[in-house]
Symmetry: C2
Subunit: 355 residues, 2 copies
């Protein structure tokens, strides 16, 4: 084993950091009206995306996001060696039906809303490990398919407590390339995946499915803490530490927990869930959630900020609450998991050009 | 990219083939009475495994299988760098709750009944890629939790057509080690993972959830065909080509399809699903299925045969039918996927010793 790759107990640093050469973000109308609306590649006003069911709508979104990412990367589907993808639905049906026609060798993954992190970590390992020049990481969530799967029928119109989050309708796709692969875009700023910290399942016994932030915050804290320890750094090493979808409640818990561990991350911390909507005006209570939340924020807003060199180092930490109606109805708690991805911007000569 | 690793369109050959240093198989009573009963590490007569719910029972099985594999590998959980694991249940709850207490950094995967293949492929890539000395691949299925999730309540006692398979109650765990890792067992025969062929999603439009073999056979044929092409070999290269859980119907379709592609695999082909039960006596119709089917057959029977050098080269092809009640009830077909793992036995000096 190349000892340099494994760092500490939970992290890796890549010998040949994979480069993000294309990213696609597709969002619903409500997301388009949110804080990052102008950063998404596509905003679709039809919540069904022209399909007959919510699940098919989500599949369509994945298809669109993948197509945008491939176009930006200048690749045909057959040039992509592996697809690492998943979603929130049982048996990952949004993914299976969404990406079938690309005929890309496929690894289905599930990490609840941390899936963008999990797929980026595995995808980067496959690229840096030498198994493929191009690998795609892809995920999605859809408000309506998620409510159907996890909560109440939409028509029931149930009330939502202030701690509840709103599942983001969106899909994000990232094409990772090996540093040695043919890649023509070095004139513009680009983003590398430098390393990763893999999550463990963390369970503080929270049983409130309307307060997912509280379920996930301990997993985020554990992941960030272990990244600091393994890398021998503190919050100042990063320009931003970006969690997936803790929302306003989970964000507070995370900052408090990190304080307890001796780290003040308030200056660097940014939560996609808290920021993706205008919560008061859009009636989204504690914020956004779902795999799509961190995925479209990464593929839209975050990568643009990094490519313009406004942020150089970002620790991207998608967070997942392992909620299932079956285990939940049987009285179980909702454990969490979070995966950390160390992103670093490399300045180009034409920093203003669009990727 | 180390060009030697990527072979053809869909396969890899490992530079430093990971070694299987421990395997654990836990089975239910019906499986214990089947053809490979004496090969399992544990057969439990209580279908609830001492738990209160079917889902918890499945979690317990995963825990037991992991413990057996760790014991045989001579490792503590904290020495395992990654766990690549999943199951059939929505949001992988059998896995989340089963392995939580091991505190191993975790990648959740879903490939329906092909999950043992997917987890072995990703796990081997992580070991060969240099990200960890020890990685565990783990999966399970449980007859009762699967029937509850996918079909009818057990108490309803519905009739089963001849094409239906019986979901195996069982869990299999494999510990993979890098060839350079501390490893004390070279005196006995051992099994290496030499390479892999990753599956694509294959859909021939089959909509019969009581004939999963037909849904999966095209995926198996595609995977085996691509392995042959990429490696430049034919069926004779392998002592056995072992599919996951096609059952008697799917097996026939696979052999026919391969014949159509110009390959006669009948001599080498062996299907875990067809063989795991005494189908007539045990009333299991077309055979066994579920993630546990190929997992316990690998961890019990197949690895023993290989370690005793009765089979040297095995292409292990777990097969998955991406069935979801949601997509199924919406009128969709059941696509399939299959992942191929190239196993090779290395003879030891004490071939009779138990691993």
């Amino acid at each position: 084993m190349d000892k340099k790759k494994a760092v500490g107990r939970r992290s890796v640093l890549f010998n040949h950091p994979p480069v993000i050469i294309g990213a696609g973000s597709v969002a619903g109308e409500k997301e388009g009206q949110g804080a990052f609306g102008k950063y998404y590649d596509m905003v679709e006003s039809d919540p069904l995306f022209g399909a007959q069911t919510w699940e098919e709508a989500e599949s369509k979104m994945q298809q669109l996001a993948a197509q945008v990412a491939l176009r930006k990367a200048g690749l045909e589907p057959k040039e992509v060696r592996y697809l690492v993808a998943g979603d929130l639905l049982g048996q990952l049906i949004a993914t299976s039906f969404g990406i079938m026609n690309f005929n890309i060798p496929m690894f289905g993954v599930y990490g609840a809303c941390s899936t963008m992190g999990e797929s980026l970590v595995i995808g980067s390992m496959l690229v840096d490990g030498g198994y493929g020049d191009y690998v795609m990481a892809l995920t999605s969530s859809h408000f309506a398919s998620a409510e159907k799967q996890f909560r109440y029928p939409l028509a029931y119109g149930n009330q939502r407590p202030y701690s509840a989050t709103w599942t983001v309708t969106g899909s994000g796709a990232v094409v990772l390339a090996s540093s040695e692969a043919r890649w023509k875009r070095k004139e513009v700023g680009y983003v590398e995946v430098r390393g990763a910290t893999t999550g463990i399942i963390t369970d503080y016994g929270i049983k409130d499915s309307m307060n997912m932030g509280a379920c996930m915050a301990p997993a985020a804290a554990d992941c960030i803490l272990n990244n600091f320890k393994d890398m021998g750094v503190g919050p100042d090493y990063y320009d931003r530490i970006i969690t997936g979808d803790l929302g306003t409640i989970g964000q507070k818990i995370l900052v408090d927990m990190m304080q307890g561990y001796g780290y003040d991350i308030e200056k660097q911390h940014f939560d996609c869930g808290t920021e993706i909507y205008y919560n008061e005006e859009q009636d989204t209570n504690a914020g956004g959630s779902g795999c799509g939340c961190s995925a479209i924020t990464l593929c839209g807003f975050i990568l643009q900020k990094m490519r313009k060199n406004q942020w150089k180092r970002v620790l991207f930490v998608p967070t997942g609450a392992l909620l299932s109606t079956v285990s939940f109805n049987e009285g179980n708690s909702i454990p969490g998991i979070a995966h950390g991805v160390m992103l670093e911007a490399v300045a180009g000569t034409q920093t203003e050009k669009e990727l």
